[in-house]
């Protein structure tokens, strides 16, 4: 018996073949034409035991540095926030982890309720009533929102802030260009680092767009004035689409309250490990009137034959399994367990804890910003307000500075030189996970690096 998970002995296999009425295993594959069959063994490493596997994987994993051993000041959409132990404990339970998409409500009330509660709690955070039970990540959720805007408005033309993550911009291009959607950009104000609102107003006055897509905090860490931007958008026939960091709602009015039509975001900060970039969670939320344009699963309430309420996947006629080529999206498998992670995370922190977390991130980032202000040679190119991430101008090459910091066991930030007229610059992010002494150490080391 090869491999570890095969269950039959040769004896059992023959008995079963006898029941089927076939002479050999080979005959089960008689439908496969001989000329295409593989006439050799796959050229793969031979089977290994659990301890050999563990030793190989541990050895590979040790070729990576990780944020437990380094101080991590890298953000850029994915952040080293604490993942509460409760989250890991619950989602590793086999009843959740090894279940399929809950097509059978009678057998899946627990997982359906967890997903429903994700939608409810996330709706509190976005301030909009409709939440899907997940898009793949923050980038594809932005694509989903752009496509929703195009479908709602019947117009294949969108306007996008140039201060969204580069990766998100690339993903928009990948998906929207083949669908014939034209993407135009709006620049930033060089002083504040926020969306250039004059340019926005001008563009919206001249042309018709399905939606304006912007991000807050933006790719320079600047918290956009969402209300002011929305007032401009509302003067035109264009939807407001915001990509945001959910943690912002710990401090600020929700995007819904501020007049956004479709809110998306990267859900990784909410109890999802960094995982070298994936898997994570795409948040997508909107107003009731746009519900039929929403991609992906939605959990809702139905009644069983006794008239009692039950959770179930609902409104499936939007989805590929019913609508096929007319569906709002092709998404099938999604990020359900990461949505449940976010739900447990919000449940654990609760009202006060979530606000406290946002405040602490703000406080630590601003502490660092103030400390860095005392170092000679650094500049702070943008005056706009920031949350837990900001840009620092350097007197020498960012590559050299970051390399020096790496040697000191610090992931010092992301290189953002040559963007937006910046010369040498890095984007620095701070989370609750950095202690005061780590922040102080960073200041000292950055001082050394630019000497």
């Amino acid at each position: 018996m090869a491999g570890s998970y095969n269950t039959h002995s040769e004896q059992t296999r023959s008995e079963m073949l006898g029941e089927i009425g076939v002479e050999s295993i080979d005959h089960l594959f008689d439908d496969v034409p001989g000329e295409v069959r593989l006439d050799r063994t796959l050229d793969l490493p031979q089977a290994i035991s659990e301890w050999e596997l563990e030793s190989i994987l541990k050895s590979h994993s040790r070729c990576n540095q990780n944020v437990d051993d380094f101080s991590c000041l890298i953000g850029g959409g994915k952040y080293n926030h604490q993942v509460p132990a409760v989250v890991d404990a619950i989602v590793s339970r086999g009843e959740f982890l090894t279940s399929y998409t809950p097509y059978q409500p009678e057998m899946s009330q627990g997982i359906l309720q967890a997903l429903f509660e994700y939608q409810q709690l996330m709706s509190k955070v976005t301030g909009l009533p409709v939440v899907n039970s997940s898009s793949y990540d923050g980038a594809t959720a932005l694509v989903d929102a752009a496509w929703m805007a195009c479908s709602i408005q019947g117009r294949k033309r969108i306007l996008v802030s140039s201060a969204i993550w580069d990766e998100h911009r690339e993903v928009l291009d990948t998906y929207l260009e083949p669908r014939g959607v034209k993407i135009s950009m709006v620049g930033i104000c060089n002083r504040t680092g926020g969306v250039d609102r004059n340019e926005l107003e001008e563009r919206l006055g001249k042309e018709e767009f399905a939606g304006f897509l912007f991000q807050s905090p933006n790719s320079l860490g600047i918290v956009e004035d969402v209300e002011k931007i929305n007032r401009i958008i509302q003067k035109s026939d264009c939807l407001s689409v915001l990509s945001f960091t959910p943690l912002l709602s710990g401090l600020l009015k929700t995007p819904g309250e501020m007049g956004v039509d479709i809110v998306v975001g990267e859900g990784q900060p909410l109890g999802i490990h960094l995982n070298a970039g994936g898997s994570s969670l795409g948040i997508l939320s909107t107003k009731d009137c746009y519900r039929r344009f929403v991609p992906g699963r939605i959990v809702g309430k139905v009644t069983d034959i006794k008239g009692n309420l039950a959770y179930s996947l609902v409104f499936e006629d939007r989805e590929q399994q019913v609508a096929r080529d007319k569906a709002t999206s092709n998404i099938c498998s999604n990020q359900a367990m990461n949505a449940i992670r976010a739900c447990i995370f919000l449940g654990c922190y609760g009202e006060a804890g979530f606000a406290g977390l946002a405040r602490l991130n703000y406080a630590k980032a601003h502490y660092l910003r103030d400390r860095l202000g005392t170092l000679k040679g650094l500049s702070f190119p943008f005056s706009g307000p920031f949350f837990n991430e900001f840009v620092v101008g350097l007197p020498k090459s960012a590559g050299d500075v970051l390399a020096y910091l790496t040697q000191q066991s610090i992931f010092g930030g992301l290189d953002c030189s040559q963007k937006f007229g910046l010369d040498h610059a890095i984007l620095i992010s701070v989370t609750e996970n950095l202690s005061k002494s780590e922040l102080d150490h960073f200041v000292t080391q950055l001082g050394e690096a630019i000497r």
Binding site: I90, R93, N334
Partner: protein, 474 residues
Amino acid sequence: MKQSILDKPHSGRGQNSVFDREFCVDGIEFELPGLREDPLGLPDLTEVEVVRHFTELTRESYGVDNGSYPLGSCTMKYNPKRNDKLAALPGFQRVHPGQPAETMRGIWRVMYELQLMLNEILGMDAFSLQPAAGANGELAGLFIKKYFDVKKEKDRKVILVADSAHGTNPASATMAGFDCRIISTNESGTMDLEDLRSNLRPDVAALMLTNPSTLGLFETNITEIAGLIHANGSLLYYDGANLNALMGIVRPGDMGFDVVHINTHKTLSTPHSGGGPGAGPVGVKKFLQAYLPGPVADYDGEDYFPSVDKEFSIGRMKSGFGHFDVLVKAYCYILTNGPDGLKECSENAVLNANYLQAGLRDIIPPVFDRLCMHECLLNGDLLRISAYSFAKRLIDYKVHPPTLVGAGCVYFSDDLGSAILIEPTETETKADLDRIVSVFKMVWDEVLHDAEFVNNAPYSREISKVPMASKEVI
């Protein structure tokens, strides 16, 4: 329905559980636009209340760990625990994607080796591990429409899909900016070649094919189909959701497929996680390699690193590099099984499905009377009650219902309205299979005695039967 987390009484603590003794946040002026004054409305519970709430919810869920899960087309095989453990190593889980490349060589090594192993298993030349799921892999595969743009064949605007194709196939075609034409199935359950020929015009970019099909049958005419498609200058796309029947036996690349995706959360045992995350690596033949979504993992004999073809790549499918936490489990699975183990998985998957087909044929005969591959499609017309109701009673005996119209992930045309698609997978023992057969037979007997009783099942769950296509209560 259990009490909602939002309806639980506030613990009354109302406290901020987040603090850092070195940072006093009281009295800080938050200089941000749009500060919030009203509460969000999040719960206020103690940690143990949260743990108990969600533990309760897991008790009303059902996974492969609980029992048989013969959901057709979903390959609900055992998800090895060791893989979960290894994916959580800090050197994988606690790595930031923005780290300098030299601090994450181990990530690129795992991805690189997985790409090579997938090439070998599927008979392809290059893989990108980026797509987030099967459907996302399909979309990546179809974005290779750029290949036709480069060749100046912009008029190829149509994707052919089988009438039995999974819903994601036509949906992906639309999302990639194509139109769909549907090819019918003949009476032996395979693609109707006449219909294919008549639809194969110069405007066809590709044919998407699932093999074995979603009817559990191998496309016996595959070489002829591949010949027709290629003679038309079109591409042949392989939906690899059903690869579990074929590992080590026949490779899509050798059958003539140009572009493939696989679902690691089916064939390669990564957990389905209540709907995801999975992963949908996309693979191609050499002439399409440059078009793959990037970055992909590369190796120069010394180092492992990310690379992308700047000129031809279709671009990024998502942020980051792919679902690394999922991919590492697929990597573990292949290493554990080795070449003979993988082949035996497929052999046993097909053996088990045929064993069930044979065991059930007295009460539920196969739709197509021939050997099946890794899943069997049975005809529920003789059941005396609807297949939907019949399947609900299985729940009381701890067998997850198979895939049916309106309950599962495949699409059945109208004439297959009472079809039942059963995929036991190779990790079920003979005793498990015998039990599944006996449960079906028991329910069959129950229907003879009291159809009404079965019609109102299940009785053992928190809720009663939910009728098909129930209306949402707002």
